[in-house]
Amino acid sequence: MEIRSEKNEGKTVAYIYGEIDHHNARLAREKLDKIIEHDRPISFYLDLSSVSFCDSSGLGLVMGRLRKCNTVGCTLTVQNPSGAAMKILEIAGMDRIIRIEKGE
């Protein structure tokens, strides 16, 4: 699992590459929170297009980042979730709670 981010004015996009499970969710959480705290964006995008595996730890990760974004006062959008990520988000009904944007 790898995370890269890019900042453009008030918008930060963080890209997650690889597998999200309980083992690497903690590291992902730390890295993403560091990015949010450093960039202080108005809108934070989590790009899940390159997530090859995602279990319910990924849900916890997204829900946790929603809380984090609410705390620092920015919006969270999940961008282009892969099939693996979308299936988990849908099962939890998170597609109704979190803004999801598909397609470039």
Binding site: C54, S56, A92
Partner: protein, 149 residues
């Protein structure tokens, strides 16, 4: 007519989170012989990951020496194409299985657990059974039809 077991495997590993990917890959490799679809393999990996994570996070919570924390996986492939996966730990056990299986229920409030593990296991399989004894451990049995491509 009784459904005959045509192949089986057993593995045992320590309850370390780094082994979550090993466990799901091992089961996926075993299942591959039945030539299931990519979607079925993806579901299998997810449910194994959920059950193993539960054993690590809940079953063995608070145990420092992971060499004392075994997780066992047994797979049996049946003639009909059913795969039965049994994931077992010798951890603390679940006090109230029905409550534990409710969506969004979690006892781990600091770890950002979603409480959706059992819901995912139920949704992604054709059957789930949970057997648990306090202080003895938990066994989760999952069944999935490996429909051919």
């Amino acid at each position: 007519m009784a459904d005959r077991v045509i192949n089986g495997m057993k593995i045992e590993f320590m309850a370390k989170s780094v082994n979550e990917s090993f466990a799901r890959a091992a089961v996926a490799c075993f299942a591959a012989q039945a030539d299931p679809s990519v979607a079925v393999i993806a579901d299998l990996k997810t449910v194994v990951s959920e059950a193993v994570t539960n054993s690590i996070v809940h079953g063995y919570s608070g145990v420092e020496d992971k060499s004392l924390c075994p997780i066992y996986i047994q797979c049996r492939l049946f003639e009909s194409g059913r795969l039965v996966i049994r994931i077992k730990d010798r951890g603390r056990g679940i006090e109230d299985i029905e409550t534990a299986m409710q969506p969004l229920f979690t006892t781990d409030l600091d770890g950002e657990r979603s409480g959706m593990g059992f819901t995912v296991m139920k949704s992604f399989t054709d059957g789930i059974k949970v057997h648990s004894r306090l202080g003895k451990g938990t066994t989760v049995t999952l069944e999935k039809r490996l429909d051919r491509k």
